[in-house]
Symmetry: D3
Subunit: 141 residues, 6 copies
Amino acid sequence: MSQDTSRYDQFQAYRSRMNCRILGDEKERAANGGARADGSVAPGGSLVTKRFFSLDHQTYSDGALPVKTKELLGLVASAVLRCDDCIAYHVDQCVKLGFSDEEIWEAMDVALIVGGSIVIPHLRRGVEFLDQARAKRARAS
Amino acid sequence: MSQDTSRYDQFQAYRSRMNCRILGDEKERAANGGARADGSVAPGGSLVTKRFFSLDHQTYSDGALPVKTKELLGLVASAVLRCDDCIAYHVDQCVKLGFSDEEIWEAMDVALIVGGSIVIPHLRRGVEFLDQARAKRARAS
Amino acid sequence: MSQDTSRYDQFQAYRSRMNCRILGDEKERAANGGARADGSVAPGGSLVTKRFFSLDHQTYSDGALPVKTKELLGLVASAVLRCDDCIAYHVDQCVKLGFSDEEIWEAMDVALIVGGSIVIPHLRRGVEFLDQARAKRARAS
Amino acid sequence: MSQDTSRYDQFQAYRSRMNCRILGDEKERAANGGARADGSVAPGGSLVTKRFFSLDHQTYSDGALPVKTKELLGLVASAVLRCDDCIAYHVDQCVKLGFSDEEIWEAMDVALIVGGSIVIPHLRRGVEFLDQARAKRARAS
Amino acid sequence: MSQDTSRYDQFQAYRSRMNCRILGDEKERAANGGARADGSVAPGGSLVTKRFFSLDHQTYSDGALPVKTKELLGLVASAVLRCDDCIAYHVDQCVKLGFSDEEIWEAMDVALIVGGSIVIPHLRRGVEFLDQARAKRARAS
Amino acid sequence: MSQDTSRYDQFQAYRSRMNCRILGDEKERAANGGARADGSVAPGGSLVTKRFFSLDHQTYSDGALPVKTKELLGLVASAVLRCDDCIAYHVDQCVKLGFSDEEIWEAMDVALIVGGSIVIPHLRRGVEFLDQARAKRARAS
């Protein structure tokens, strides 16, 4: 049985490439779009940019709330703010952390009732991404 | 005279496919991305999800305000919230309900003045979709 | 029978005072907060500011769509963007233009389903403002 | 030791009054601002309005995810969408459900990192409301 | 000549009080709402919360762009996101950094055209705050 | 050395085509999607639409603030409102006006801290667009 994982693969490749462009060393930046016609290499993110990315990562670590709960909070925050890439990232994390489809549906329901029908197109793309993330993991295992 | 209706066709196909994935029975879900590698079929939306979709549909039915007015309200709400798919859906409804281009332009003007220049890229895509929706109907008739 | 119109009165007074501060001549600006300790008068809005206010006004004038429809579009746009003052302004216009409560409820329903439960606190304040606007007009007549 | 609970009390009173105005019977609506100068009583929410409120309530009930998790999701969704009343409502629910301050802080941290510094003023008011909700419960017990 | 600075004073007092509640030591938290009925003191922000506040501060420091430019960027970002407290904070910074009213008007014009008429109520309150900030400084000098 | 400028080229072509469709004369509209199956040509934007586009243009002209500062304000406003096309447009303007990468990074940092991690996917696409805009100019010179 073959299932489409193209959107999953494209998302991961683009995210990884641009994170190298933003956070990487000169060699990584040059290899990911930062190479200049004059041979120089464009600067990556500033110290503030890098600290923001690092604080973002730290926010989802274990604490008074478990990592699983925080990822679900990140998913719902991303859904009501209607960011497809952020939804995709947190859906992938939720799959990796072992959330069931039923749990993810109920989290998306909170986003749907709080954020309204404007969330529906993002729900469609989020469910498509969820199916591809499941297929990817099944193939990998 | 041939006009491009590719974006119109893609929008309708994707929307229809994902609505089947979200609201459909097991067979429809399996056929639209919900088939799992282990042979099981992923669940669709919860009862809350389905009730939300149904309430959304009901909101645009005839009442103290005519359906036409409600669709125009839906279009402007979608435009100021800057959701291309929602704009596309309501533009298509407005075309089906017989709104003239001049009426649609004036509704978009309200969205433009209330929502600002950030609405302009969505206006561009909305007008492109409007042209394709008109072409589609001309071809169908 | 006495009904509270305090929020209605405060809204109109503040809006009128600040519009004079933004759009008015030197005397009006001085009388509305623009008087400086050094005796000078603060500038009002720029030419762009004034043109924006004028274009905003022009957007709601009669055209392919009647003024009534445009005010209702403005109300729903304001509701989904969750701006209490904008909701208050358009509710007042809708009352003046003769919309029934049932029509206003159905317009707010579109905002509620598109914008979600996050709109509810603004719906509460919008309904309170609607009641005060009705009371104000009853008293005036 | 006396602690200020004025904002907590005002929030609950206003919310309760306007919910009666929106969802109540004729007597409740008349008592909460819907009484007209002509002796009639203004209509409350439509069937759609009432169904939306009921679906909103149903969304936070026990399911694949426990009620506690859903309330925390509602809190973070409200925080990133920057609605003080929604934050207040969910903070109160979180207090009633037994969340510790540390857990609420970490949920707000997710909202802060996802939503940015624009969330900070809402965080200030949310923490003030949390303190008042705790004081209210301590007094009640 | 006496000018009203009440909103300015209230904003600064509340902001300072809640920042002590969020970032302060036990004594400061207890004095600003964190004192519990049982004699304990509520925790302040987590390490993530504090790092976010510190990174926020660091973002506006001198670099490739001067502090003045960054404060103006913060003002426009706050205005299009329609946060009165954030607008007030950055207006105050802009006044302290020596921006003229004409420069602030033109920055607000960018926010107005990008963000639309929904920004207008925030512009009104921002101009009122600007007048109070000017009056405050005139009195202080 | 060849660098990808496909996204840059597509953005400029689409923007130019749709602006002709919206603002152009009958011939331009017909050539850009407005040609009808019945041989007629669809109307372009209304007088309000055209005045809005013209006021938008005027907002970024030299005044108390230099054009460069205004474009940077437009970039940050676009970034916190998370509009990829608006970010692309202002990034291109900033490149044309001679901003260094370091200056653009610091402006994006303000957007990142004010708008939160939800801005990150738009930062990725904005940096990719910046690299393509630089490559385009290097090739042109």
